[in-house]
Symmetry: D3
Subunit: 333 residues, 6 copies
């Protein structure tokens, strides 16, 4: 079991020797000025990443038979250089089967996956239209697809970039979509809920998350919109009597959910449910980005009443945490 | 009392003589090929507008002492030309005081203004923060401002372009904002609700609606964002102890609520409540545009399963009415 | 058989009575100043369209049981008004089965469809890769698809907007693509040829051409790119052993062939063949637009050395016909 | 008194020990490879900035009780590393009251502030319209506002980014505006002059310059345009009989002076004086940027006939100094 | 001599028969409902244009041997239709040599061409640099070029679209450029003055103004920037010892004077004089557009305190005449 | 003769002493922590560049009398630091006349220049139009121009950035243009071929390549489009009877060949040959960029089935090598 995490190491004494398991993100061999080779690794777990250096490559306790993506066991101590921490590696070997769990190595949702999944299932259950409900249950009862849906991040590095991020984002959207549908009688709730659950399902093929978050080659060439349309399309083909027009509307919602051609949607939203899907998706992503920035600022010890730096995902604007700046919640005061 | 309305006239026989009151939107004198002068008027009431022509200008029963913006009493009959109706005017005079009501002459919300106002007041009542609540009650208890707030359209010709449109739009937003605030703990509900109520208040000065909907010269030069900031600013100056930072955030929300510099907001939303205000405002306006287009299509007798024409307010896209196209509600079926 | 065509009518005497078959594009009832109803029709055949008016609706020889999209037989004569011609309709009835052919009613390619099809088949034959060849032969041997491929226009109103336009455009592209592939060893000719043949195949579902050229509702909601991907995708699913990577590249080519996100391609071309497909497609369409404009100018009797008007499909630029302006071909002179 | 300046240090021998006063811009503690902590400071005065390092933190003569924004007295010597100079700090303490002047620590206009102010006052004196003159004298006789107007930089890092930069920019504009008004009879000189003096007055609140140049939080949220409108607005409210229309035009000029929505002006210039204000402001800023770039090139020892690097403030274009390149003034030669 | 002008005709009685000379801008033959042919002409002189109709084509006093671009003598009377005036033509023939002057037929500067030319010569005289002065005198002493420079409009339909408009625009710029050069010591006045005089000289070839204002085919293909560079280039080639670098800078100023690539300048201004030329040119054109709009509003009888319509040449903004709106000049009041 | 090349050095032992000739791209003096000065040079030849350091500046065998752009002879050995190689310089002096050839020092086309030139001459020979042929032969028989045309790179750092790159690019275009002209009868082959040969000829003045690739000052101020027009223009002036219209079309092709105003073409292509020139030029450059990226990936040892990094010259898209990814050529397999 993993008991030493990257974000604990900063507090370690330089004398303290520890053993820990990590994921190898990158591996490089370099040479000192004295022309002596040494290893530079990027070691990661779900709490962050840290550089590790192994100086004594001649030492048989420093394994050479490992690669990017492997789990390794490291014995070493923490050194500091220009205020950054570094692991000085004394021993290193590949982890044995069962010794370490890849799940501990990648950032993961702070929510309970089981609970999120139950909320997703409850949403499916609430769909009244029998065709849409059958489509959803068919897709989510596919074991491989359901497993991927639970694990996939929502992005490589923007909002919800962690294991379970896709599911977490969808569950948040479901709550918002429910409230929005209740406000506008024009909206067909069943269609909106189905669109929310399926709009990003192509990400299970577009992204890879086994050895760090990345795009698959197919994902770069086709994109999650096309991949999602394909998945839904194929499932519908197998369902008897699925209404043709309902299929068209659902595919239209997936195609148009980015809201603009220049964001990769080949069509603009043309039905109320597609417009609503685009709005809740965009708004939830931006609210999540704001929340992440405020957490990051707090983590970095910025004063509560400071603006954040310029945020790339929000057009380079700076952000301010209302409550922190006011020094209090305005409510009930 | 007004009992003959523009949208009744299409069904009138050509023989039927009628008396009715209308608002004069435009007045022009033209000449026949035989060089005889005649009058061409645009006559309007809240149900629409129709062209009227008076041919016998020598007849003393055709008054000349009226202008654009006047209410007039007309006696005439309906003619048809190329499928368009026209009023053939036999007699015309300015309406006497009390004979006609300007309220009948301009399109107006289909909701009850009193009921909308009560919902606005309830929202004010629900604000917990004492400073924000005092600001709102101070502004809305100003009789001139409150009267204008009840009457103002939300726009000259886009969404909610009717008397009471501003209030109707705000009340719809309040419902949506409440639901959104309940979904995101990050949002300060009091601040968001206050922003919703005040974000467009400058429109009471930017627009004029006494004689048709238009912009005031000051409105064109300064805009409703600046005019709204000015109104709120001046009220806050008169309130003792209004917190400086709270004032800054509220003004920021008004300034940034269009969401982009190219839409006339000099600042992007930088706090969660400003982001939320921008989203609910934009989304509600677009949903209202969709609903209006579907109503217009139905009025024009388009088949239920047709796309609308290209909609200017929605980037020239065409729209489709989900339920009409599916032939049924997908829910519960 | 149709022997009187719209573009012959301008030369007719007003006294000459004729019988002809036309397609009804629009049908409207209007009323004279004297309140007498009359019919205004837009009559079309492949050479153009002309307005027709039937004044004596009481006459039993003027049928009423026809609609937009019907073929009709008309007896009448040509009148002139402000230099525009008009058909004065004396008699009108729906065409009987077999009396008239819809093919005569819509503009059509000036090339021989059979010959174009043979050149398409030759191109398929020339494909060496067995998977791609099987895909193409499978699709083109589907009778409904092959029929639609022969008939479909390439657009509603831009380049190649005539029956057979899609096929004509593809055959021109095949010749160009062959030359380009021969010039760049980097290009895989088989893949490029397959992409050329299939890139616009979704247009057979996006467009309708039975009663004038238009978009289907599904076409507006999904677009020909998605519809084409879907057709190809479904065919590949039925082929045993079609290589997964080859499928990805082919779908990528269809997705990216518009070359830019703002032109509706959700992906930019990322492989040499996709880049080449985008270029030949864009260039051929622009060359065809140029040629059409020069023909139009000649038809309208513009002097050979004049610039055309501003051309919408070419960013509002004006065009000049090199040879006409030089008064001679520069070659060999 | 300050007698050692940053830009003198490059010429110092490494043996020379000196005492000097500096402003601390940043303060960081780092650790050597041998894990020994040391201090890295950014030390600034009005002539530039330099890195300082204090290695012996155990030495009681190295104070620890100072922070970013403090004035400090430093004893040390100059070292060189990779051609960059560095201060090796032997002793360091906070400056005592009166020992050093913050004015020496920030870049400042090379013009005489008193003289600039007199030219501003002369411009106010020259305004004939009594309302505008009273507005200007009221604002500039407010001691706090006048002090800030004399001190404020015109920007954080673009044109006129130095103490007194705002005043210097305005005085240059006044000269240019006078010449332009004399050329165009259409322009109301009084209104233009008033607009020039007040257009950027919001910068006194948007920017802070006590401890380096930065934006205030309120400045980022509201912007200097809104802050300036607010200042002018409030002053006008206190003036009896200020004409309403004159107020509207003046506020319009401030709102629109950036000339484009995407530059943060919520309105485009719609009156001749607003158009003129936008032009002189934009042109003077660009001329100043050019002059600064040429001075910078000269300082860096670039050859007179070389192009500058790509200039960020001028759309990444390179610049060329006409006279330097021609080797002579073209005039009279 | 021409004594009847288009803008006098509106006041004529219908009975009044008059003789007048006009330029034929367009000529069209149409047919009445009774199938009788008649002529529709667009007749113009420098004060405007008016439609003329000749009904009795059989009458030998209606000539047929004239074309677009001819000067004609017309006898007729004024009719009115829908408030628009029209000339009812009784007799028409081509003007004899010397009877009418094309100069009376096109709008022309209200300034004295001779006086404008003297001011241009004075500016040339004031240039101190001998190379630049010789270049200017060489070009302006070319009789054909000088004649065209005096006559050319500055545009087909935007600012200064009248005979002498180019010269008038340049003379206004010279005054402004002088003032700007006096304000900025960085500017080389000689170079700026030369740039002002030559920047638009290509318009003498780009535009044609013999028979209405239009572009030449060469002008559309090459543009006045290239044509101006070519003219200057060729003249310099004939001057001994013209410094190479001075030539480069001057050509750079002509190339870059539109200020942006998307406005047709292939280079951005990179020297101070090019930047200044771009600004004075742009500003003078916009001030002229404003003045024209105010004059047009006054001519159309708009109230002094109304906004203009949306102005195409100024990004669709509306304009307001400061002094008219204030009801007085703010100066000295 | 040069026998040691930069890309050989990586394989050298640290003990191996070698002598080699290099071009000095940059020369900097720095100081060690111990304040000892040393030299840092960027040494280049046609295969790449490498850093060189000379530590013993006191040693008389380390010359000081050389500068950027000089050829030098170096004696030294290879060291390694952080996986990067470095030359440790023991001796250094300027190369003597004839010892080294600048041609060895800059990257150069891999094609045979003589062969490329023969293909260019063959293309000239194939031009039938006598005026165009005479223009081409006149220009290419100018010895200085012909020499520059053989040597010039096509760009500083994008496609074909090597000696002979311009010629190589043009010869590739000639092949493509021939094929395109054969496909479209609308195209005048002679004009297109002439445009291809001359479109970039201004680059011989815009770029400099004696001491590394750079822009001349004149090149930055005027650009190669203007410089090319000027060269062609001047040659045509010297040819008797060159048709005016042919000259206009040719200059139009050069002006418009970038295809868009924002790419620096002051005119859009308006004739078929200009459109074709823009297409073949753009397409060939992009195909070449693709090929270069694939070669670079292979050189860097990327796996065959990986995407490239984001490519700046292709809008930051990633690229995939079709054949490498498929593991085989699809053709014939």
């Amino acid at each position: 079991m993993k008991d030493i995490f990257v974000n604990d190491l900063a507090a370690f004494d330089e004398e303290r020797l520890f053993d820990g398991f990590f994921l190898v993100l990158t591996k490089q061999q370099r040479t000192t000025k004295q022309n002596k080779p040494y290893l530079v690794l990027s070691l990661a777990d779900k709490t962050g990443q840290i550089e590790g250096r192994a100086w004594e490559l001649g030492d048989p306790r420093i394994a050479k038979d490992f690669a990017r993506g492997d789990l390794v066991k490291v014995r070493g101590s923490v050194g500091r250089f220009d205020d950054r921490c570094q692991v000085k590696i004394d021993q290193l070997r590949k982890a044995l089967d069962g010794e370490a769990d890849i799940k501990d190595m990648l950032p993961s949702t702070t929510h309970d996956i089981g609970e999120l999944w139950r909320r997703l299932e409850a949403a499916v259950e609430s769909v009244g239209n029998p065709h849409l409900k059958r489509l959803l249950t068919t897709m989510l009862s596919d074991p491989a697809l359901a497993k991927a849906y639970r694990e996939a991040p929502a992005a490589r590095q923007l909002h919800h970039a962690w294991l379970g991020g896709l599911l977490e984002h969808v569950v948040s959207l479901l709550g918002l979509a429910d409230r929005v549908a209740a406000h506008y009688p024009l909206l067909d709730r069943d269609l909106l809920v189905t669109g929310v659950i399926l709009h990003d399902i192509g990400k299970v093929h577009e992204l890879t998350w086994e050895t760090g978050f990345d795009y698959s080659v197919e994902g770069v060439l086709l994109g999650h919109i096309q991949m999602g349309v394909d998945l839904v399309e194929k499932t519908i083909s197998g369902l008897p009597d699925f209404p043709e027009r309902l299929r068209t509307l659902l595919l239209h919602m997936i195609l148009s959910h980015h809201g603009k051609l220049e964001f990769g949607s080949p069509k603009l939203p043309m039905i109320p449910e597609a417009l609503a899907l685009n709005f809740v998706d965009d708004f939830d992503a931006k609210m999540q980005s704001m929340a992440s920035e405020f957490e990051k600022s707090a983590r970095e010890g910025k004063a509560a009443d400071e603006l954040t730096g310029k945020v790339w995902a929000l057009d380079q604007r700076q952000l301010l945490n209302t409550r922190a700046w006011l020094g209090t919640d305005t409510q009930g005061k």
